[in-house]
Symmetry: C2
Amino acid sequence: MYIGCKIACGYTPAMAVTIVEIAKRAGVSHSTVSRVLNNTSDVIAKDTRERVLTIAKAMGYVPNLAARSLRHARTRMITVFAAGPDDFWLGANPTIITAAANAFRDAGYELFCSFGGSAESTRMPAWRFDAAVLLDRVPDDLRHQLRAQNTPYVVINDIVDEDALIVPDDAQGTEVMLEELYSLGHREISFVSPGSWYVGHHSIVARQAAFTAFMQSHDLPHSLSLEDRIVSEDMDGWLRGQLDLGVTAFVANDHHTAIVLMSAAARLGVRIPGDFSLMCFNDEFPLALLEPPVTCVSLDSELLGRTAARYLLSLLSDKEQALAHVTRIPYRLVSRNSTAAH
Amino acid sequence: MYIGCKIACGYTPAMAVTIVEIAKRAGVSHSTVSRVLNNTSDVIAKDTRERVLTIAKAMGYVPNLAARSLRHARTRMITVFAAGPDDFWLGANPTIITAAANAFRDAGYELFCSFGGSAESTRMPAWRFDAAVLLDRVPDDLRHQLRAQNTPYVVINDIVDEDALIVPDDAQGTEVMLEELYSLGHREISFVSPGSWYVGHHSIVARQAAFTAFMQSHDLPHSLSLEDRIVSEDMDGWLRGQLDLGVTAFVANDHHTAIVLMSAAARLGVRIPGDFSLMCFNDEFPLALLEPPVTCVSLDSELLGRTAARYLLSLLSDKEQALAHVTRIPYRLVSRNSTAAH
DNA sequence: CTGTTAGCGCGTTCAC
DNA sequence: GTGAACGCGCTAACAG
């Protein structure tokens, strides 16, 4: 397994250049260097200033953030917590995180993922952080802890009291879908939702409420109760039953559910969109690659991430008051081939 | 959009407890506290020791890593770099990162993702770090830079010279697949690989080499050259052509390709596994949920992540010599329903 | 066994 | 305009 090729000697900490070394080379004191590099004084001799800057650049100076943040009580680091270690890569979360990270980085902050052990997701990372992003349903005590130590945070994709929340506009997304299906002539529509862990999730609740509201306002048949529209274990049997009841279109709660439904249809020999239409939330892989490609509503996850970052940055820079509020990010229709006129 | 509910006053940096405060409460000097908390002295009065520990726990003490790492020249942070910002969530990478993060955390290190801007993925994060994990094909100059400043690192899923590498055993994985298909009676087998960015990737190269070697050693027909087995733009036409040529089984280079192939089959009205068998690399979502569920070879990504972490930790702790070597992680067969006897 | 002290790299006074 | 001195929280060396 080993190819005996020596590549480096034992690990010794890398010694980076400090302002003292720059000061020596420039023939000034280290505080002058600090003043120049931080632009913290407008009364500096022009040549001194330029000399220091060129030397710093030539030596490849990078400020030691450990020292800097020891001086300030800030670390310029922002951490993102998720409900579990796997939730970082769930659905739209990667896009959200990346967008937020870019916004933070532009403002001089570094976003990092804190991978708590599965059991103790509440555990604080060893590095201090100036603010936190909370993804999905993080434990309550984490929020309490953050608030107790006065660390600003923003909650993404969860509804809790008295916090700043940024969530998808699930009611709007549901309406977009239902209006599309309605305009295609569908009248018997089912909302497919997995029965398991999702129950009680604010998204599910909001979507189901919007679903019911739409059906009522459009005077659509209520032969099926909402409970009947939630899939149990046996997807094949459930689908068969729904079709027998005259359902012509399904709104799936997520891409996962949509795929399971499509597989059931394939097993039953039922055609999409010939025999029924299908739409779902979240434009995730591999919806576009399936046969047929799946129509869905897509969230602007980048906007969501940016919005969250901007809010936190405003708190950090302007020393603004934190207000409990809800920002809802709208969905957008992505038309593909899993829907057709009835 | 805003609900006017005040939740907190302006941001003020959180003041955490320090060893000085613990020392005051315990009636000892701060260095004694340090000695106790770091287990750095075995000649400490038992009651002093216990008193300090209970007080530290009660006050919720967390060491300030900024100060600690200023004192040492270590930060106890490890960075993971990826080729691009999206590569963190590609395929098995999340699992790898999580596994490595856990191993690092157990050893007192914090792993964090550095989300470089897409253009400048080489850019170093603002924080110093003790070691780095390089995912996939990171730019050469990053590796050179790390080596120049004597920072230990490990390369995952890329083949480069003179470095410590941890990669999937693609030759073994290919053989596992081909042996399975061969034992099912298949003789005309194609290797389906996307023609685009993948070209030149070490995995592709290794898999194609292993494929050719297997075909030769089993004296299988070579009516098709390797080039013929790489799909171009038009998957439908290509698949039709392959089937006409008598191909009865396909080995797809990844789950993405497998899904595209399945969609083509659906469009052509060709049955899996009735008309041909299908296998692919990487057991990723949603292979298990499709109809039929797809047989594949799965990598123990957790083992891969752990292995990488262990190697880096040995370098960091034992001041061991870094040796250029390759560790190959084997694939395992996951039998599902997309394969059948011919 | 424990307290005192110095200094890691930096930013910030306060003098000159 | 600029240098000297201090302290952020911590560890390590040296005294007692």
